[in-house]
């Protein structure tokens, strides 16, 4: 819009949103970055400038590296599986299969059940001995009890399952929307040409679903760093930090240990990580949109 005073309008429309963004995001984030170069203030000892000391401490902190690798596996486990399942669910629910209405309901239900409450149900499923999984294992197969949450080798996988359960149905909705916008003519044309169903899916539908996939994957990436409510309820990050994730560790450092300086440092790292991941995705997303 080549209006001469376009910029006045631009700024006018922008200013309310920017005001809020500056007040509740940029200003506190800037404070966070500044505090990452200061020591933690304690009642009688004010913060003092210590340069990169917090960062050096972080590099030597084994727990930091542990949660970083946990978070990597958590993301690697939740993102592809929840997106894949979401697409499968959408395809099913969008078909003419019997029971699809109920299935849609079942897939969507986790979205409205607060994780802080549902985590308790999952805890029951995982409980050794009388938990649901063990009742099935023991009752049907005569297998011994398995302590999924109490074993460092399985606890992260158990957390990943909960996260996938929580997210997949939510992402399904977006795929469902996209699927319904694909004109049926395309399918008919493919049928006439004798294209196989898998071929049709791969060459026609997947490309058409690309923007949705990117939208969903941005959400999935952000969630893989943000979804920690169930950890508070189920494991507290244990055993021995085996299920702790970066945001959980930031919470612990900031609100349990009250090491605000160090927490700020960890936060900065998380910001950098997310920037690389999310901004990259967004620019990809941006380009795709222009093609449409």
């Amino acid at each position: 819009m080549l209006h001469r005073r376009a910029w006045v309008y631009g700024w006018l429309f922008l200013s309310p949103a920017l005001l809020f963004l500056f007040a509740f995001t940029h200003y506190p984030a800037l404070n966070t970055i500044i505090s990452s170069f200061f020591s933690t203030p304690r009642g009688r000892r004010p913060a003092k400038f210590i340069g990169p000391e917090n960062y050096q401490e972080m590099l030597q902190d084994p727990v930091f590296w542990k949660v970083l690798s946990n978070n990597f596996w958590f993301a690697a486990g939740t993102i592809p599986i929840s997106i894949g399942l979401a697409l499968l669910m959408a395809l099913w629910v969008n078909s003419h299969l019997r029971g699809r209405t109920l299935a849609r309901m079942a897939f969507f239900a986790p979205t409205v059940l607060p994780l802080i409450a549902v985590a308790n149900i999952w805890m029951f499923f995982y409980t050794p001995g009388f938990g649901l999984i063990d009742q099935i294992r023991g009752g049907l197969f005569g297998l011994p009890a398995i302590n999924l949450l109490g074993n460092p080798d399985t606890v992260l996988a158990a957390m990943i399952v909960v996260a996938i359960w929580k997210e997949a149905g939510f992402f399904m909705i977006f795929y469902l929307a996209a699927l319904q916008s694909i004109p049926p003519v395309l399918r008919e044309a493919a049928d006439v040409e004798g294209a196989g169903r898998f071929y049709f899916f791969r060459r026609v539908m997947l490309p058409l679903l690309m923007p949705t996939t990117l939208f969903v994957s941005v959400n999935a990436v952000i969630n893989s760093f943000r979804l920690v409510d169930h950890i508070f309820v189920m494991t507290d990050g244990g055993p021995n930090n085996a299920s702790s994730l970066l945001l959980f560790y930031i919470y612990e450092t900031a609100f349990k240990f009250w090491q605000t300086g160090y927490a700020a440092t960890l936060t900065v790292v998380m910001l950098i990580l997310l920037s690389v991941l999310a901004i990259g995705q967004f620019f990809l997303f941006d380009r795709k949109i222009h093609y449409q």
Binding site: V93, A117, D229, I279
Partner: protein, 276 residues
């Protein structure tokens, strides 16, 4: 998948149906378990026998443990307030980014994108100070304030607005419609599916949010459902599944039922143009 082609044997449909039902069953398990425990005495929390006696005691207990009606009302007000503010602020900002050229646009857009990453969840201490300085501690509006301007919302709407052909708004400008009129009559109606998609993300996020509301509120009149539910997550005395599940059902029930009733309309209107 449509079994349109004659060449596809029926067992394919059957196989898909079975697989879908199986997955749906798995997905519904936590909900089914919640229903089971909520309507049976605590002794049947781990024993699944059909003859178990039915009871409504758990609901009564949960209802008595916290003023859930009020919490529910608060959550609804909170979610609505946030949604309205997000829609208004994000629409204006997205319109500016999509349709105006002004100095500093790219820089500002990058700053907006930054908010995607800086989750308000990790800025709790700083944001508490700000809210305190504004004198708004313990208000519903304070729970929402950090979320009103959403980088995600601005980004999504900007994308949608940019895909709207410019000829449309030039035609409208010729007729002398103001920018706001243009936004209201052309852009917003065309972006409906985006609003719906974004609304869903926003509502589900704030419906589930816990820590910030707990910190910033102190009274029954302002606290959302999640804070009420947390009273049952107290671990010292062991988990009372039957009561916590009754509470969860009570508070999530209305939303679930609404979805059940309106899912067709909801999904369809959502889909009309698809999210792009």
């Amino acid at each position: 998948m449509r079994a349109g082609r004659a060449g596809w044997p029926d067992f394919d449909t059957a196989l898909n149906t079975v697989a879908m039902c199986l997955l749906a069953f798995l997905w519904a398990l936590p909900l089914l378990y919640a229903i089971w425990t909520a309507i049976h005495p605590a002794a049947y929390e781990t024993r699944f026998v059909l003859t178990a006696p039915l009871t409504l005691d758990n609901f009564a207990k949960a209802w008595a443990a916290a003023p859930f009606a009020r919490y529910f009302l608060n959550t609804v007000m909170l979610v609505t307030l946030i949604l309205i503010c997000q829609f208004v602020l994000c629409t204006l900002a997205a319109f500016a980014f999509a349709r105006f050229r002004f100095p500093g646009r790219s820089l500002l857009f990058t700053l907006v994108l930054l908010q995607l990453l800086v989750m308000p969840d990790i800025l709790i201490v700083e944001n508490y100070k700000t809210i305190r300085a504004m004198g708004l501690v313990d208000t519903i509006i304070a729970i929402g304030l950090p979320y009103f301007a959403s980088g995600f919302g601005i980004f999504l709407l900007r994308q949608t607005f940019m895909s709207i052909p410019r000829e449309l708004d030039e035609a409208a400008r010729v007729e002398g419609i103001s920018f706001l009129g243009l936004l209201w009559r052309v852009y917003i109606p065309l972006a409906k599916p985006t609003y719906l998609a974004y609304g869903l993300v926003s509502v589900s996020h704030h419906w589930n949010n816990f820590l910030w509301p707990l910190i910033i509120t102190n009274s029954v009149e302002t606290r959302p459902v999640t804070v009420g539910l947390s009273i049952f997550s107290a671990v010292d005395a062991g988990i009372e599944w039957s009561v916590i599940n009754a509470a969860t059902l009570m508070t999530s029930g209305p939303l679930l039922i609404a979805f059940l009733l309106f899912q067709r309309q909801f999904v369809q209107s959502f889909m009309r143009a698809g999210i792009r």
